[in-house]
């Protein structure tokens, strides 16, 4: 499950709130005690951001907001907001109604949770409060999936959620600008894989469908209304045309309506090709694919049917499955993950006898095929994303450290950035170099300019002398005099003195003159003056000579310098050494 807590610039953000699909007990929920041991989370979180509608990213959201308690804003893209509640409700029905679980959220809780959602548009900066801002980027992967850029002051984090770098048939590839975040957080589950091409997956799909049709079998493809269903339809339509196949292909009407509805709403989220065709004509005007009527399931001969829901847990796809399961010539192709408790999950685990309602058993004789079409970034994709965003540090989550050393080394070598791989429950602290904006007084600026030299430049910092005043959340740099004036303080000057003894039989004046001549010859480039009041000045260091009272051959040099001029003192020491 994905659920990441980020503290940045004093703000706390929760990234995703997923359910672990492998557990049946409370371990499936994220452990919110990391935030607080008891009580609601509202005071501890500034916002929650959900990357996309997959249950391992949003499945625990209603539990968090309604059962643990959170009333702040929940950000997600428009498509995610539309699709999330449907999947959550489906999931709830399966878990509670079918499996009879009790510690779970209700339908009302899902509704209440969604009321807290603030939708996001792509590339639009949203001010969560006057310090925290967020921006969503296109992630590909599924409809509405986003990568999020979070910024507080000059520090920022980008969280990728799930993304892919190669365009799909119905989705584009993830894209982000050179935003240079301090940390880029990415999943590492697929980081050590190299993906088999889309063509081969599609070939496999077509081969399986073709083989079943050829032997007179029926093929059931349970799908969710969106996404893969369109891709597979396009694929079959083209294949049927090329191969001149006659067997009918159907899709259930529920599918069309939902699909068309969603596509009309979210057309900007699909890729160029789909958009073009949708604009030209209706998504579902196929030559070889027709609307399904439930009576067709009993027709003899081969056919292909797309039906909802996707996990065979209820509705039309389950009805058709029950009719066709007993014939080994038939086939069911599962194009995605199935939640525990569903028939889809059971048959994908090899179960061949199913218990149905009313104590009847169903013998599963048809061929079961599991095909994964979901798009994830692999090792190459992660490198591409890092190249795009140019983060200062990399954080990989959900991998085993021992299996990620090579990738960590690769990232560190190629980009010269640190790569962290924290385990669940571990905290990583990343040091950043935030730039602190400070106002500078005009006087001070003018004074610095008068000193000459190159103009200040981000690539060539310049040291300057001033006083930093922090007053009511603002920072300003002023000259020392102005600062003292503002603070109502008197300026004090510190002067240091030191006595050096010298053996010299000459008169005081002669000794002083000899010192002057010597320093002038040795310390070229420094201002050395012999003043009429009987002192020598090296820059601002004053030298006076007087004879020791006990012994006239012992001269005492009195050196005096003011606090700032350490470098002048150094040069003088050199001079004396010579």
């Amino acid at each position: 499950r994905s659920c990441i807590l980020v503290s940045i610039g004093g703000k706390n953000i929760m990234l995703d709130c997923g359910m672990h699909m492998g557990y049946n007990d409370d371990r499936r929920f994220p452990d919110f005690s990391y935030i607080t041991q008891n009580g609601r989370l509202t005071d501890f979180l500034d916002c929650v951001i959900i990357s996309h509608f997959h249950l391992d990213h949003c499945g625990a959201l209603p539990f968090m907001s309604e059962m643990v308690g959170y009333d702040g804003p929940i950000y997600m893209t428009h498509p995610t907001k539309a699709i999330c509640p449907i999947l959550l409700e489906d999931f709830r029905k399966i878990t509670v109604d079918k499996k009879g679980e009790t510690n779970f959220f209700t339908s009302q809780m899902i509704k209440d949770c969604m009321k807290k959602v603030v939708p996001l548009n792509l590339h639009q900066t949203v001010q969560v409060d006057d310090e925290l801002e967020i921006k969503a980027y296109y992630a590909g992967h599924v409809l509405g999936a986003a990568m999020v850029h979070i910024k507080v002051g000059s520090e920022s984090v980008v969280y990728t959620g799930d993304y892919n770098m190669t365009p799909d048939r119905h989705l584009g590839a993830a894209w982000i600008d050179k935003c240079r975040p301090d940390i880029l957080i990415s999943e590492s589950t697929y980081a050590t894989t190299i993906r088999d091409s889309k063509r081969c997956r599609e070939r496999d799909f077509l081969k399986k469908v073709h083989e079943s049709i050829e032997r007179g079998g029926k093929v059931l493809i349970p799908v969710f209304a969106l996404g893969r269903a369109q891709e597979l339809c396009i694929l079959l339509e083209t294949f049927w045309e090329r191969m001149n196949l006659k067997a009918p292909i159907y899709f259930s009407t529920g599918l069309t309506e939902k699909a068309n509805h969603y596509y009309k709403l979210f057309i900007t989220w699909t890729n160029q090709k789909i958009r073009k065709t949708f604009v030209q004509r209706n998504m579902f005007e196929f030559k070889h694919i027709k609307a399904f009527d439930r009576s067709y399931a009993d027709n003899p001969g081969p056919m292909v049917v797309f039906a909802t829901p996707g996990m065979l847990h209820a509705g039309q796809s389950l009805q058709i499955f029950k009719k066709w399961a007993g014939n080994e010539k038939n086939m069911v192709i599962m194009p995605g993950y199935c939640v525990q408790g569903t028939i889809g999950h059971k048959i994908l685990n090899g179960q061949r006898k199913l218990e149905m309602e009313g104590r009847s058993t169903l013998d599963v004789k048809l061929q079961v095929e599991y095909m994964s079409f979901s798009a994830h970034a692999d090792a190459k994709g992660i490198m591409q994303l890092i190249r795009m965003a140019e983060p200062r540090n990399m954080l990989l989550v959900h991998g085993e450290a021992v299996k990620m050393e090579f990738l960590k080394g690769k990232i560190e070598q190629e980009f010269s950035i640190d790569c962290y791989m924290p385990a669940n429950g571990e905290t990583v602290t990343v040091t950043t170099n935030p730039s602190v904006p400070v106002d500078i007084s005009l006087n001070l600026l003018k004074r610095e300019m008068a000193l000459g030299g190159p103009l200040p430049d981000p690539k060539k910092p310049r040291t300057m002398h001033g006083t930093l005043i922090m007053k009511e959340n603002s920072l300003k740099l002023v000259s020392s005099e102005q600062a003292l004036k503002e603070l109502g303080l008197n300026e004090h000057q510190l002067r240091f003195t030191c006595r050096v003894q010298l053996q010299d039989p000459h008169s005081d004046t002669d000794t002083l003159h000899r010192i002057y001549t010597h320093l002038k010859s040795v310390l070229k480039g420094y201002t050395i003056q012999h003043l009429p009041d009987g002192t020598v000045m090296v820059e601002s260091i004053v030298i006076k000579v007087s004879s020791s009272t006990e012994d006239p051959n012992t001269k005492v040099l009195l050196l005096s310098w003011s606090y700032q001029f350490g470098s002048d003192l150094y040069c003088l020491k050199r001079g004396f050494f010579f």
Partner: protein
Amino acid sequence: VENLGEVSILKASSGFVSTNICLWLLNAVHQPGSHCVCLLLSRYKDLHVYQLEHPTQVIEWTSGKTVCVAGFTSSKNEILELRLPLKLFADENKGLCAERDFKVVHGGFTDAPVRCLRHIPGTRCVVTNDGLSSDLQVWDLGGDDSDVIRRTGSVDGSRGVSEGGSRIAARLSSQPQVLHGAESAGVRLTQLTSGQTVYTLETDSADPLSSLHFVSDAVFLAGCSNGKVYIADTRTSAAPQLSPPPPSSGESVLWWTDASAGPSCLDPSSCRIVRLSSCGQTVISDLRNPGGAVSRAQLDVQTRRCNADDVRVSWAPALDDCIAVSGFSGAVQIYSSSVWTTELQEAQPLFEHRGHAVSSQSDDGVPVFVTSHVWHPERPRTLLSAASDGSVHVWDWVDQSAAGC
């Protein structure tokens, strides 16, 4: 359908526009000899297509399910140990396994190109050569506790070799040993742990090598680029047997060799040698009579260009009389030598894998060519092939002549 190799725009009569769909399906229709459209999907039992970040010239088995690949650019390169997709091996429950991807199980970095890579059987060790000198680099692939491939040492090659890199061979032995050399004079068998040379091949002339093969624990073949094959026994200091190059036209002809283990690896004389020339001429000899020829054929390879580094010829380990050839173009060809005779005749491939050329990723107009291929040691028709555009394919081909259709 527009030109082969370009993006095909297919318009269904409903006005639908879809791009780039199933190029191979469409191409397969135009293949010579394929008159039956129903063969389109039945050419391969399994097919997996991958894109590495950088092309590889080496594919080497490190176990029944893992291979090593490595880059060959002049600066920094990666060595990767990849696990083949689980779906390939899930024979009974293939349908329930959706896992189609390569898994990078171990990876490491090297500062030089990798031109030759050999796994030492019985160990987690591989040995590489950069093609610039005859020295070898020794690597530890790592176990479960780390996924980093680390350099553990080196093996000196023969001094005085002016150009070209070493060929490497290894077989299972109680003490890990590696056979290596760039020329016939100076092939050494080196003990990996001690660095000691336990055997050196001495030949009258120093012929540049194109390959080294063990045919048994002690007997090995040194295949030279000029067509000579030396047969030596590491147990004796006797001079090696020499099989002279087959008669051929032109001095600039290069030869590549492979040796089959034969039906019984206890009897090296039942082993056969195949020699392939840069003109496509192929000669098969028996180790019992290395100077003679059992059969010959003129293969259908494009002889316009061939990079000496890329040509590979190999016997199928689990199929009788099958030979795979690659490096002349973007295809891997499978020939059955059972029908060949002692007369030089043209032979047609039993199967041609054109996937690399057809689905080429390179867009600068430079034609793609296959850089390497290997057979799976046990699965009869499974091969891996790699090409100059970084693609790596895993394919299980269907013998069309047996399928009939």
